[in-house]
Symmetry: C2
Subunit: 140 residues, 2 copies
């Protein structure tokens, strides 16, 4: 999932890669917020399943290819919060990303099964997996 | 899918709703571009399936709830390209969105089956469905 050079994204400018990866993370965060609201309030299984499937599909979409050359710093007026350490530790990033994908698979399975208790557990695990990456590789 | 008021997004500010919907559209457009590159060049069935599943999951995530009150115009420095006509024609928007969802379901099915010919056909239909909405409801 973290193959850095891929035919299909070789054409994208660094600015485009940064914008698309931020879009993916941002859309996941909307869906994490929706699941949290459902767990805290009225649980709507269809909405939770839709949200979990969006997170899972984005997590498994191959966003690693959006961290290509030249995306390790701000480009013009496109700012990035990735830390340079990300690019020096791709093996560690791959482990973190693998854990993250596994957690989103489990969340989607629980959500599609309508199992609120299991959604609650796996939602916490996904949140931890987001945080594991941000703590090391995203600037504040 | 176009229920305008939903518990889980009632908490979001108009700015947040605009940003999240733009993130969803932007991430879909990355994935449309990847599928096009695959159809034009070397066809990688795994990448196409990942891209199609991301588009399909975002299309069915319930983005209609991100068009809440106050999101029909620019808010502070958050600009929106939605046309006011969108909010006056929610029945028509629902038809367009329904066609769009059906097209992304077909694209995902073809991509997951590894059927390049059918991916090519359904990819064209998804592109038409994006355009159908933009022509009427998105400013240039």
């Amino acid at each position: 999932a973290l193959g850095i050079a891929s035919t299909a994204t070789a054409d994208l400018t660094p600015e485009e890669q940064i914008r698309f990866r931020q879009a993916g993370y941002s859309f996941m965060s909307w869906n994490m917020g929706r699941i949290k609201s459902n767990l805290d309030g009225n649980y709507n299984p269809e909405q939770v399943a839709a949200a979990a499937n969006a997170i899972n599909a984005i997590a498994t979409s191959g966003m690693g290819s959006l961290f290509g050359p030249g995306t390790d710093r701000n480009v013009g007026n496109v700012k990035t919060r990735v830390k340079p350490e990300f690019f020096d530790n791709l093996d560690d990033v791959a482990v973190i990303a693998g854990n993250f994908v596994a957690a989103t698979n489990a969340l989607a399975a629980a959500a599609n099964a309508g199992d609120e208790i299991e959604v609650s557990t796996t939602f916490g695990e996904v949140g931890q997996a987001c945080k594991a990456c941000h703590d090391k590789y995203r600037a504040d």
